[in-house]
Symmetry: C2
């Protein structure tokens, strides 16, 4: 935990902050923060800064906080992600939050097993917990929005524009494609939406429907990656290409 | 499993190939391969190709193989990796094999917990199993070499050049650095060695010793990533930068 995330309900009327539970325990047992010391804090959805420890007793942490800095810049990327197997989702969601993705739509697909929908990993509380872990790691405060859609085609046909907007560059990592990622216009795009299929890939109908809705296929190279590896690889590559643009712009 | 990996001991004198155990079970229960069908196969350390199913009975798979193509090109990257917690190592090793890393030195560091050395994840059989999973996923046949070193300083001072060579560009993702990855000469380097610290980072002594041995610090940006996220992000970025060179060269 590189940042203690504060929720609105932690703030007391006098402006100090009070926490119980997991965060208080972490501050006491791992950080071993003594009164007078400062911890790095951030307000969920808001600024980051420091918190001076006023009290750190078993189960109760009280801080005087000063929130002055913006969190890290956003990636400018949204994901359309075929629901991965639960074990992979537990790895992907913290990574997605760490890397500053704004929105994730978890969608059904032909190669998604029906049982995944019943997984506890998809419960709202569990999803949020995984995302918060990612924010605490990356010192970010902005929680990605996660939507779950049980029907692929209606989502693509009826909701795509409303959820992702019409100005973003839509990209589809797809083995038959030849164009590499750095040749599909990522550098100039205001935002990017990345459609990552399940292990085994999108079936042809799905890939064609996505292409018909503006998703440009590109090649990830000859190696076939697991979803939990492909997502950080692609987000890292997008960050590099887009940072390069920002720096040279 | 996108590739059935064959070991030398699977080859019979008549040139056919015979497997039992996990791979035979996978071919029967998951791939449901009937006699006459072909499977994608590769010989560990060698070529990839196809295998025609001659027999697929419970517990026994027999193939006539044709190995004609090279596996995917190497990444040209080695890793010096502070031993991650066992859960993270179980994620990092398959990713490293998927992404075509040649050599991984797992090294002790000040922020590595001593208990990690006793983890079953570090047992040679377990390490190889995780790497094989990565190869089967990425359709590769070349097993990364994994070395474990319990003492950081003697490794850096006495073994570094022998293990990684002296021609590779040595890189250190290190928060105080300002240079981004695309400005440290990766594009022109024959090979790259990447020194990834533990969660919490290298301590100053370690970072200084690495810098004194030619490791150039660079910035990963304002987000602090978990090791299991940082490794695929960095390998993806290196692949992009080095592929771009290859294509424009």
């Amino acid at each position: 935990m590189n940042l203690l995330l504060l929720q609105d309900s932690d703030f007391l009327p006098d402006g100090t902050v009070q926490m119980t539970g997991r965060r208080a325990q972490h501050a006491r047992e791992v950080l071993r923060a003594e009164p007078g010391e400062t911890l790095r804090v951030g307000r969920l959805g808001g600024l980051v800064g420091t918190g001076e420890v006023l009290e750190n007793t078993p189960g109760l942490l009280r801080l005087r906080v000063s929130l002055t800095e913006p969190p890290p810049p956003r990636a400018g990327v949204d994901l359309l992600l075929a629901i991965p197997r639960p074990k992979a989702l537990k790895r992907v969601l913290p990574a997605v939050a760490q890397l500053g993705v704004d929105r994730v739509v978890l969608v059904n697909a032909a190669r998604v097993e029906k049982s995944y929908f019943d997984s506890k990993v998809l419960a709202p509380g569990f999803v949020e917990e995984l995302l918060l872990q990612g924010l605490e790691q990356a010192r970010d405060t902005r929680l990605p929005e996660v939507l779950i859609r049980e029907r692929f085609r209606p989502f693509v046909e009826d909701e795509l524009d409303a959820v992702f907007g019409t100005q973003a560059l839509r990209l589809l990592p797809h083995p038959p494609a030849l164009q590499p990622l750095h040749r599909v216009g990522v550098q100039e795009a205001p935002r990017v939406v990345l459609a990552v299929g399940p292990d085994g890939g999108w079936v042809p109908f799905e890939a064609e429907l996505l292409e018909a809705h503006g998703f440009r296929p590109f090649s990830l190279g000859p190696r076939i990656l697991r979803v939990e590896t492909a997502v950080p690889v692609l987000l890292g590559q997008l960050a590099l290409l887009r940072e390069d643009t920002a720096r040279t712009a």
